[in-house]
Symmetry: C2
Subunit: 308 residues, 2 copies
């Protein structure tokens, strides 16, 4: 039916790779405008800024914000002030205070706000969550190791303050784990390996536990060459649950339960459509809060300079 008119703010790599195809294939959304000072799309009304787009297309119902993180807060504020439903790429702000502010504003304005964590829409996540809800958990291991040169070529912002370093992918793992575990958990200690020429960690070892002292270990590493690893293993009273390949493959007690091609962004937009239609928000700051906790509590160790 394509009943929701949406505008896209920021037409960069993530917008082109993921948001545009997802919106194009969505049965719910119709892309009517873009806002980007440098880029326009053929056949779509293009504006230089969100303000100009809001003026030019007053009937817009929703906006998706895919700009660099430090721009998101003021843009989301503007969209909410204009009564629009807002989807925010992850992370939903440069700081936790920004997200808190947006959540309160969305509530006051009665606008749906969606702090989107795309990895939560990986194929195996919902089933893993369901299976774990009823079981006693003994131990969790998270391994999120990828080659930054392959996945983030030339993206120097990752190494600058606010760029989060290895937590840029690591926050995806945290978004899954906070989704599938029935209990909250807390950082107990962390080691952050920071290259001598960078502001942000290239690797991190994190030790969490929940209130029952269940150990939760996470290893994030940007220096992985060869096979890449995006795995979560949960040992339970009924055997091991493994969510691997970023959530595309679910193995329970040695049985492959699910192996599917990922459709994270299409599923994410399906969920956004439900939020817009139901006039409700979905803002869970937990993944970003864990990252901030790691920067607050982590022990920093200087490692070799990173040269791309």
């Amino acid at each position: 039916m394509s009943s929701i008119d949406i505008g896209l703010v920021g037409v960069g790599k993530i917008a082109r790779d993921q948001h545009l195809p997802a919106i194009d294939s969505s049965p719910d959304f119709r892309l009517v405008a873009t806002a980007d000072p440098y880029t326009r799309l053929e056949g779509i009304d293009g504006y230089d800024s969100l303000a100009a787009m809001l003026d030019g297309v007053p009937d817009l119902q929703a906006v998706a914000i895919c700009t660099p993180t430090h721009l998101r807060h003021s843009q989301a504020r503007l969209a909410l002030e204009h009564g629009k439903a807002v989807l925010l790429e992850k992370p939903p702000g440069a700081t936790l205070s920004e997200v808190e502010d947006l959540e309160a504003l969305a509530e006051r304005r009665g606008c749906p706000m969606f702090a989107a964590w795309h990895s939560r829409f990986a194929p195996g996540v919902a089933q893993a969550r369901e299976w774990l809800a009823e079981r006693e958990i003994h131990r969790i291991e998270i391994e999120w190791k990828e080659d930054v040169r392959v996945w983030h070529p030339g993206q120097a912002w990752i190494w600058e303050p606010g760029g989060m370093g290895v937590f840029d992918p690591g926050i995806n793992a945290l978004s899954i784990v906070t989704e599938i575990l029935p209990q909250p958990f807390f950082l107990r200690s962390a080691r952050l390996a920071v290259p001598s020429n960078c502001q942000t960690p290239i690797a991190a070892e994190l030790a969490f536990s929940d209130a029952q002292e269940t150990p939760i270990q996470a290893a994030f590493d940007f220096r992985q060459t060869g096979p890449q690893t995006w795995d979560i293993h949960v040992d339970t009273e009924d055997g091991r649950l493994s969510l691997t390949q970023g959530g595309s493959r679910l193995v329970i007690d040695g049985q492959v339960v699910l192996e599917a091609e990922e459709r994270e962004y299409p599923e994410m937009y399906d969920h956004f459509a439900e939020l817009v239609t139901g006039r409700v928000s979905d803002v869970d700051v937990a993944p970003l809060r864990h990252v901030a906790d790691a920067f607050l509590l982590g022990r920093r160790e200087t490692v070799d300079a990173f040269v791309e």
Copy 2:
């Protein structure tokens, strides 16, 4: 009437310097027990742990938690699980996730929880808040500069992960500013000066703004010798408000409006008594959230080693 039986968890420096005198002079609280593996007080039942105290004094109504930060979460959890009202020294947890968890638990259990920020009870704070509520604010300057050798002799934990460095006093400034300003504000950039032999900053320069782009500048420094500075200046349409000497002195447009001896902890316990009696919580995580934001977003610069 001394109607609220309270137990003190952690009988260290802050408990002796501030909590005990405040409880002693309180018309509402009666100290009935302490929990500390190393220290007991004459004439008061002493237990080695919170668990032992809860067993030994089942009728206890409230506990004040003054232990090192990393112990507070599990202790506050235990106290809340036993249905006690809980006061937490600042900061209310080692991480934001811990505080979030405690707040949710207190809500579920129907127990009053008080994340206490003592500086908010400085003499001039309430009046400053009231005066600012009705005025347009143009600019804010925060200067919080003290000599760490004078105020924190031998406290090596300050320089360890989680010790927060200059944010240990700086969070007091942030607790006042978040209390007196009518609007939330957001960190835009930060510079953290970290001694080469320490994990945490010895000085910080923070640039915040609110949604109206009002500039809010903060300078924290632990290297101040000579006169010490704990000042907040707010320029408004009706002149400058200055809250100085940690909030003990209030000057508005050149007039000294208030100058009083500080009674922060007695006032704080008066407020806790109101919370306990009214069965309500007071948990504002904003000061700690700003600190976490600064660690997340701040640019770290290495400075001279700190030798005490």
